[in-house]
Symmetry: C2
Subunit: 385 residues, 2 copies
Amino acid sequence: MRDVSIIGIGQTRVGEHWDKSLRQLATEAILAALGEAGLERADVLYVGNMLSGKVSAQEHVAALIADFAGLRGIEAVKVEAAESSGAAALRLGYVAVASGLADTAIVCGVEKMTDAVGSATASAALAMAADSDYEALHGLSLAALNALLMRRYMHEYGVKREDFAPFTVNAHRNAAGNPCAMFPWPVTPEAFMKAPLMADPISLMDSAPLADGAAAVVLCPTDRARLFTSGAVRIIASAVATDSVAIHDRRDPLFLEAAYLSAQRAYQQAGVGPAEIDLFEVHDAFTITAALSLEACGFARRGQGVRLAQEGEIALDGRIPICTMGGLKARGHPVGATGVYQIVELVQQLRGQAGVNQVKGARLGMAQSIGGTGGTAITHILEAS
Amino acid sequence: MRDVSIIGIGQTRVGEHWDKSLRQLATEAILAALGEAGLERADVLYVGNMLSGKVSAQEHVAALIADFAGLRGIEAVKVEAAESSGAAALRLGYVAVASGLADTAIVCGVEKMTDAVGSATASAALAMAADSDYEALHGLSLAALNALLMRRYMHEYGVKREDFAPFTVNAHRNAAGNPCAMFPWPVTPEAFMKAPLMADPISLMDSAPLADGAAAVVLCPTDRARLFTSGAVRIIASAVATDSVAIHDRRDPLFLEAAYLSAQRAYQQAGVGPAEIDLFEVHDAFTITAALSLEACGFARRGQGVRLAQEGEIALDGRIPICTMGGLKARGHPVGATGVYQIVELVQQLRGQAGVNQVKGARLGMAQSIGGTGGTAITHILEAS
């Protein structure tokens, strides 16, 4: 297996792109990433997308996007792992280049959620990440499922709703420095508490917004990266793990076993532990998800994820900065694209190009993307070159 | 890259499985394939599926199936490339094992189409393989799109509707010898001509049926295959190519460029040409698709694909036997599973286990799976060991 680096990144602004279609968003990100790498084509294209079938009545999106991006003929397939689809596409791109199958690979995550007619449709589409027969069919949306987890967490650990506010405050503070963020403005703890409830105890301010967007990266073997760019960033770990999709089948609903497994596999591959990670792009689809992911990855003990946020350790100058460009909550969460946005942001940080959001001396960055309520978890660790 | 072999196969009967869900069908095929290989687990699972989101309101199917099949924790993602999703999953499994990432891989194709409410829904779901904005939105189903191709083919080459009958007669004849086939009974040329038209000139008898089913294979490096089985079959080529999804954007609608490209890449990788292939599992979603695929892969000159069938060269004892276990038309076409069914049948042939359908002395077998009207084509070449 060859060592793999990222040699180009591209992203669209995250938001409601009423004037752009799925293929247009993806093409914008792909051409930006290829442009950075100084390439016109690559050997293979992997597209991460979750919802285009339900929302846009369009499958076969990898071929569709390849053609529109001027890559006709290229090997291209779509990969889906619910909200972690973008990270799954990166995993495939990594394997393709590491194996020698491809010398260059494009990985693109894209989602067009505003094509869903009404929020009910978008919510139903997202619920496809849950167990359709045993959860969604009974009316459980993803927000409702995570509300069960949050309520249980509050009960088990004596935590209050307001204790989750620091996650949201931190994410919005960081989004202000990200020109691609959907909500680049600050939020106060008071505003957090006043937000309307979606599924008690989850409010709008606990929940990442529906959004459109696309992000892309270009990969090549590390020993050739200098031919393309001086800003290459190495992928030193890539790991996927799964768990029961339905919460009721898990041994312990408050422990994300797939998140734990994929983090452990990534740590092992990279030869590092959580103490050595300089920043962590966490999957904060809901504030409770951020807390559980921090715990599963070893950044906090069980029940202490929320404390980490309260103590300011997740800020840009804290022990483990998270959501450094706004996270899912404030950069926005175009689901199938999110896993690639996290990687684009890590590359910005590890290149020292994160502007006012720069994490000082960042050398090792980690991203974890989670599908459903934890049925899939995908972890990548990147290193500055 | 390591040499890769198939060490286990599994399949459910193709048909209307009203009593079984998506996860049950997939698990049945996976456990059968693992059982053949004498394995309880593998390192990675790739699931090929196209329609579960639209038809069953279920995405995240790789984690779902992994859990149900007793593989909790395993690396698992779904891959989608329209009707060639199953073949795309095999491609990923091949790369995972060839690269050294995985020592064992499970590849499963699965589709549950009878969960669609009414044939209109199934037809709309399938139309997601076409260009949603420029084709499907205007009412063009896949049958209608292929009817345009068939009509043009008849016009260009002076071919009549009845000239396509030999494809259907051959497929049904072979299905009679396949216990997993959906329609294991013969069809006469007269019955072919009497079938109701779906989209003139395409009739029910030109068209593969909607179906449920799952097929699976287990892969490992060839140098370890003997540890698991004496019936290993090598994968000596694996190639994916894409083209414009919309027909109107192609240089020549009667030439499947992706099919040509992926076949050429496969021939090059295997170091063989069409003359050396002993049997060909063709993507006969429609009779016209079979003709165009035969031509693109070099088994017939342009406009001569239909003649090949008329001259009996596609029969089990012909020059290039196709649909040897019934093909999409008569084995049935559970879309996301079909690409893996083709591989399971090739393995049966190359092991000499195809019973009354055995192609004498079969040593090299090829399968091609096509997404949409040709936007994706995936070709594999297998060799008996």
